[in-house]
Amino acid sequence: MVMTAPIAFEGVPLGLHEGPPLSLAIAPRQTVALLSGDAGGVGPLGGYVLGLERPPAGRVTVFGTAIADLPARERLAFRRRVGYLPAGDGLIQNLSLRDNVALPLRFGSTASPREIDGRVSVILAAVRLRDAADQRPAQVTDEERRRAAFARALAFDPTALVLERPFDGLTARVAAELLELARGGETAEGARRTVLITGSELPAIVQHRVDQVYRLARNGALQLEPA
């Protein structure tokens, strides 16, 4: 049986770099990091995956579907299958961290308010945010904001996750803890989720838990780093 890659890039140019376009299929349950020294290289890839922007050339698919090609309503619905942590967290400033995590569920699920509250409490406990849950983003630390953004990305318990610069400014210990949460634990076949990380650098302890690390080389090509 041929399995569709959860996330696949076909001939997508990497920013202003003149290297070969990116063609890469991320296998299910794999954690893959695409790193470049500047934001222009791999920075836009997360947006391409979610269909927030269209790549200048090539095609990006999620579970075989190019989200950007879907009609507006279907595009919004499809995005709920993919967890997304944008660079800079993207938390809604006038909502508490709890409401930030609950928002996608309240808007996009058919669960009752009670079920949603229960699910949000479980996620907040998992990211160790119970004490700060009722604070707004401006009232908490950078680390707590990032934890809340992770919790929100996991709200629908997606099978694929896209994380943009997820560990910037965090200690290696916190980064490792959040990566384990993102992977969703281990099964006999590997991690529960497929995770794509884009950014400039990974803490060494995190790099050990990533299945493949690609780095943008000087010639503009993404090269697989040796394990």
């Binding site: 979610l50 995005r79 993207g90 809604i92 400033q93 808007f107």
Partner: protein
């Protein structure tokens, strides 16, 4: 020689294009509102209630102040001037035509545009700059449904409520002003009530709907179309306020024109 004409043409084309985009945005907001799911409606209702709290409830004091000052000035002057010619009966017409029908809706809408319209555009532009709008889209939430629809509905409800408050306050203050100018209270009430018609009620509802829609849609459009740069926030707020005011004046003139 043709350069100034060409520049004028470009500027006009740019303005018309923006007007078209604004109309399309307004249409999309209404369509998005109608397409809300039950879950989305619950969330949007919560945001709408908040919007009404900021736009209407927090503006009550200001509307009371403006309405009572305007009414006191107009009626006390009118009683004196019209009294000289024995035409005090015209006070009712003056109150209804000048204040209830024209100045009330105009001042209420301008107040809401200046106070809440500016806040809406600045808030949405900040949402845009901080990447919150993009994050909403990534979560599968239509930013128009979450951000623009509640502000659109909230503004219509708020303008209507404040307009009724403005008119009631104006009539009540006029009563006080007339009494101070030696006109009996019952006489004043009789004149004003005789001048008020069902048409004024419908006109109030129609103006509240149109001006509320302008105050809700125009700032949302400028806020959500802001560039992702901090300098875009004051630009969006300023453009939204000016465009809303122009829209309100044009709307008011249109109401007079269609009679």
């Amino acid at each position: 020689m043709l350069e100034p004409l060409s520049g004028l043409g470009r500027s006009t084309a740019r303005r018309l294009s923006r007007l078209g985009a604004l109309a399309r945005f307004g249409f999309d907001v209404v369509r998005s509102g109608l397409a809300l799911t039950a879950a989305g409606r619950r969330v949007a209702l919560r945001v709408t209630v908040n919007q009404v709290r900021f736009t209407a409830l927090h503006a009550i004091g200001l509307i009371l102040l403006l309405s009572s000052i305007l009414s006191f000035l107009v009626i006390s002057q009118a009683v004196q001037e019209l009294g000289r010619y024995g035409a005090t009966d015209l006070i009712g017409t003056l109150m209804v035509v000048a204040i209830v029908r024209e100045l009330g809706p105009l001042i209420t809408a301008l107040t809401v545009a200046g106070r809440s319209g500016t806040a809406i555009s600045a808030e949405l532009a900040t949402n845009q700059v901080l990447g919150e709008v993009r994050a909403l889209e990534a979560m599968g939430i239509d930013p128009k449904q979450y951000l623009a629809v509640p502000r659109f509905v909230g503004s219509i409800v708020s303008v209507f409520a404040l307009l009724v408050l403005f008119d009631v306050t104006a009539v009540a203050t006029g009563f006080a002003a007339a009494s101070l100018s030696h006109m009996s209270g019952p006489r004043y009430a009789q004149i004003v009530l005789a001048s008020l018609g069902a048409r004024d009620v419908w006109l109030t509802v129609a103006k509240a709907a149109v001006f509320g829609a302008i105050v809700g849609v125009v700032p949302s459009y400028f806020g959500l179309s802001a560039l992702r740069a901090s300098t875009a926030i004051p630009v969006a707020a300023s453009r939204a306020t000016v465009a809303s005011m122009v829209g309100i004046f044009l709307g008011s003139a249109l109401f007079v024109a269609i009679g």
